[in-house]
Structure formats: structure tokens, C-alpha cells
Amino acid sequence: MDLTVGPNQYFWAADTWAGLYDELAQAPVKRVVLGELVCSKRLPFFQDRIPDAIATLVEAGKEVALTSLALVTLKRERKQTASLIGMEVEIEVNDLTALAHIPEGTPFSVGPLVNVYNETTLAWLAKRGATRVCLPPELSLASIEILATAAKSLGVAIEVWGHGRIPLAISGRCYHARLHGRTKDNCQFACEDDPDGLDVRTLEDQPFLTMNGVQTLSGSYAAMIRQVDRLEAAGVSALRLSPQSQDFAGLCRLYRDVLDGKIDADAAEAAILGIDPGQRLSDGFLDGERGADWSGRMAV
């Protein structure tokens, strides 16, 4: 299996954002998807750095794709989505609005926020030009197996959510702004203080979710370190790693080592918790009782 880096879901300063892609040029990942996925208001802060990031990655031999916005409502967002086609890199569709702008016959990829739950949807997307699909994170291993089998005959590569806080919901409302008593239009970029999102805890102070502007993520970090063999056997071509602020390049190397059989899952788990000791992991969507479950020893 290969590694794909998904678009950064958080709002980082432009220099930090660009620094990630300088680092990734040297990381053992095959493919990098970048651009703004979550909130159109963030894009102007780093938009002019995107061409350089793409050039750096392409020069390092990476496949590069640009993500579309996850939720497109405003005129500005429609324009942003339409303008992706002019960037001359592959588009990763994360809302079907982008597909309205991609000419028939132009290859594209499909991100985890497009609902691909079954073979007919997959086949329709393949016919329309999809060459790669990252499946929705809530899919079970049984569904992944069926879809990966179907994808093989369609010539589509299947990717699954490999590591990182899981995108669970997107809204018209900005929760970061609401938390600070503001509206979305006057958010004053409240989300920029939380480079990995803001922890949302239950009334028993149990970590549960993560707030990221208009997006809600899982509190736990999905981690497929214990599922690599099963996913490979199911026919999955790549794991998607989602950028985080702490040692993300190190995390990419760690996953490469897991895929190459250089370290086992226990050692990988210890290494992940070495980067962030407070981190909780999950892989329950595959075949747990619920998405938040973790199959590892440190299960709580």
C-alpha cells in the first residue's frame, strides 16, 4: 500500500502551512492533496503559497491533487470551486459541486467527504472520470472489501482514512465563532488558535469530539496501524494520513515502516503516543461496535 497525505483540515499560518509541504517533499508518501477543504474564509491567507507548494512536491516526485471545498454555498465559494480547474493539477472532489466544473473525460479523484457507499455510485464516478476514491471514514471493512473488489475491475484505486482526527460533520454554522460569541461572518478567525482543533469534552470530562470552525472531527485519532494487513488483503491501495501539528513527517515515516513490516503495531502505537502522550486512537468504524472504538491494547 501507498501513503497519501490529505489536505490540512485546520487553519495554520501561511508559513507553517508552506513548511509542511517543504517537509513532505522528503517524506515517504506517494501522493499529497492540498488546498482548503473546510472554510473558504481561510483560503486567502495561504492561497498565494499553493503554486510553490505544488512545484516543490512535483519536483520531489509526488503526485499532487488540489481539494475542492467540502460545502459550497456562497458565490465566492462557487467561484473558488470553479477556478480549481484552471490550476492544471488533478482535482480531488470533496463536494459534487466541483464535478459540475470538471469536463467529461478529465480524470479526477474523489475525497472522503463524497458519499461513496456502494458499487453503483463507484461505477458511475469511474465512468465520469474518477481514477481514485478515498472512501468515507464510516464505512465498515465488509463494505470496503466489496468496493475495493469492484474498483479493481473499474481501474479505480481505493484509499481509506488511515490516520488522523476523523471528519464527522460539516455545517453552515461556525462553532468556533459561536464559542466566542460571534457569528460566522464576524468570526475573527477564532479557529487559528487551535492548530489541531479544539477538544470537545462530555459532561463527565471525557474527550469526545473536536471543533474546527464549521467542521466537527472525532476527538480520537483514527489509526489503522493494527489493520494494515486486513486492508491490504481487502484490496485497498493507499492509506490517507491527515496533517497534524506535531511531527507529521515523523508520522509519515512511521506508517511507511509499518507498511514495510519494519515495525509492528505495538511499537507503532508506542511511537504515536510518544509524539503526543494524551492522544487517543480509534479504528472502530472498520468492525467495532462504534467508530470511537479502538482495537489496541491501550483501549479505554
Partner: protein, 327 residues
């Protein structure tokens, strides 16, 4: 043209009550995972659907069949059968969300009118027109993330009819794109047609305090004599930073009755009432009120006001994203 009232029916009795109360259109689903209100004891078997459609048609009302979950890989035949059976029952349209199912319906049931479910989260004119051109979609149920001016802008750029929610439960997240429930319980709207299911709710009474848990997560806490709201995830109580409260949304429901004239001006074709899980008396009362409102609007009479407040969950209502400040 008078605005169309689209009313929920979770049971044949609710369908008949809605029709008698003046619903122009009723929507319902089969009693299985093909629809997004897959609750125990709700929905229609095939025979009930045929009878329901016949009853509605004999009273001049239409029936829409919601087949708006996302078919499970390997089991798509269940959803395909639902589309065929809806057509055979005489349904006026099916409400679909999945691209594959839209493609299937367009290919094999071209004569059956297709509406795009709110579960498809089509939130702008570009994507709505794309669904129309690609799958022949004739009406879109708009996601509850849009303001009234944004709805007007959409209608200015599309021939597709728009239907908007005006009353009942309020999803805070873009529908069809939310896995909060399956993260906490394993059951999701997209896959199972349920959200925050009752099977995963527990109440704990400790020292005069009532905790409501969903999937083991405590998301509500009230004094024992206070009314305890149902622990729906996005309306739960959480803490983040130094704040504790309803961080996503208060336990409110949607009531946009006062916006009906603006929605008509914005070009909206149909007003949708949420609540297939509701009783027939509730349905009859809500329908009666909304029918009176659109008839008054059409006749140029003043709109009746505040008539629905006491039917709302927890007595608190919001106009949601229709008013831009909500966001």
C-alpha cells in the same frame, strides 16, 4: 400558485390524517433501512403504501416516497426494489440522495419523478443544475444551511423546484454528511436511517441529578424535576475551552412559519414539515396550520401567527440558517 405543503407520515393513519387536514403532498417511506426515519413501529409495508397512495390520490393529494439512505455495498438490491415498489404503488415521486441510486432510477424507472433528498446536501445552483442535467432531478430539498437570500439566489439560477424545511426537527450539520451518530453508537443516518438511536440512550439518576447518555457519553444533565431533552448528539451539552453548554445547537426545533412570505418571494415551491416519527394528531394540527397560512398568503389575507409554538420540542424554536445570524 399556492405554496405546496409537504407533510410527513410515519404510519398509514398519519397519512390519512395529513390528507384530511389539507396536505397537498405527503411523504413517507418503507419500513426498512432504505429511508432516513427507520424507527421501530414506523413506516409502510408494500400493501400499506399502495393503499396510502390510492387514498391520497382519491383526495387530490400526492405521495412522495423517501428512499434516502445510502445503499449498502453488496445489498443495493434492497434499495432498487424500494424504487420499483414505489413506482408500482403509484407514488408521484421518489426522494433520493445517493448518486448510484439516482443513476439506477434514471436508467430503469425514467418515468418516475425524482426529487433530490436533503441528504444529498446540494447547497448551490451549480450542483443542483448538475443533478438535474445528469439524473433528471425535478425538485431539490434544500439543506438547512442556507439563508433566505441564498435560497432566492439559487431559484434565480435553476429551473429545478425547491422545497425547504419550515417546521420540526432541525439538523445543525449538513445532512447526509454527518457521521457523529455512528462514531458514538455505530448507527448512522446515512447507513441505517437513524441518528442518536433510542437503543443507545441511557438515563442515570444520581442524587437528584438526571444524566442522559448516548453510547456511553454523558451529553445532558438536568435536575431530576426538570424536563430532560432527548440526547441528540448535535444538541448535547459539552465543554470546550473554558465554556460548557450547547456548543453546537440548543435543544431547539425549527419554526420558520413567519418566513413563509419571504420564502414564497424567494421562489420556493414547497414547504416541508419534518417529523415522520410524530403522531397523527400532531401531523394534522401542523398541516392544518400551515395550510391555513399558505391559503391566507395566496388570498392576500394576513398570516396567522404563533400558532405552532406549543407543538415545538422543549417550547424553544429557531428560524435556523434562514436568518444569517444563526451561522
Amino acid at each position: 400558485m399556492v405554496m405546496e405543503i409537504v407533510c410527513p407520515a410515519g404510519t398509514p393513519a398519519a397519512l390519512r390524517a395529513a390528507v384530511k387536514a389539507g396536505a397537498h403532498t405527503v411523504y413517507c417511506g418503507f419500513a426498512d433501512e432504505t429511508n432516513a426515519r427507520n424507527f421501530p413501529g414506523l413506516n409502510f409495508d408494500r400493501e400499506e403504501m399502495r393503499e396510502g397512495v390510492a387514498f391520497a390520490h382519491s383526495h387530490g393529494s400526492k405521495v412522495l416516497v423517501a428512499i434516502n439512505t445510502f445503499p449498502r455495498a453488496g445489498d443495493e438490491a434492497i434499495w432498487h426494489r424500494a424504487v420499483s415498489d414505489a413506482e408500482a404503488a403509484g407514488a408521484d415521486a421518489v426522494i433520493l440522495a445517493d448518486v448510484g441510486l439516482l443513476d439506477y432510477a434514471a436508467r430503469y424507472h425514467p418515468g418516475l419523478r425524482r426529487h433530490l433528498s436533503v441528504q444529498a446536501a446540494a447547497a448551490n445552483a451549480d450542483v443542483i443544475n448538475f443533478y438535474a442535467e445528469t439524473f433528471g432531478v425535478r425538485r431539490v430539498v434544500l439543506p438547512r444551511v442556507l439563508s433566505v437570500p441564498e435560497i432566492a439566489a439559487i431559484n434565480a439560477e435553476t429551473e429545478v423546484e425547491t422545497e425547504v424545511f419550515v417546521f420540526g426537527g432541525l439538523c445543525v450539520m449538513a445532512e447526509g454528511r454527518c457521521s457523529l451518530s455512528s462514531y458514538a453508537t455505530g448507527k448512522s443516518p446515512n447507513m441505517n436511517g437513524v441518528c442518536s438511536p433510542a437503543s443507545h440512550v441511557e438515563y442515570h439518576d444520581e442524587g437528584g441529578v438526571l444524566d442522559a447518555k448516548l453510547g456511553g457519553y454523558t451529553i445532558h444533565r438536568v435536575a431530576k424535576d426538570e424536563p430532560a431533552p432527548y440526547p441528540t448528539l448535535c444538541k448535547g451539552c459539552f465543554s470546550a475551552g473554558d465554556k460548557t453548554g450547547h456548543l453546537f445547537e440548543d435543544p431547539v426545533s425549527l419554526n420558520a412559519e413567519h418566513l413563509i412570505p419571504q420564502l414564497k418571494k424567494a421562489g420556493v415551491t414547497a414547504l416541508k414539515i419534518e417529523g415522520r416519527q410524530r403522531s397523527r394528531s400532531y401531523v394534522a394540527q401542523v398541516v392544518g396550520n400551515f395550510r391555513a397560512a399558505v391559503d391566507a398568503l395566496e388570498a392576500g389575507r394576513p398570516m396567522p401567527e404563533g400558532m405552532l409554538t406549543r407543538l415545538s420540542e422543549g417550547q424553544a424554536t429557531t428560524a435556523g440558517a434562514y436568518m444569517k445570524v444563526w451561522r
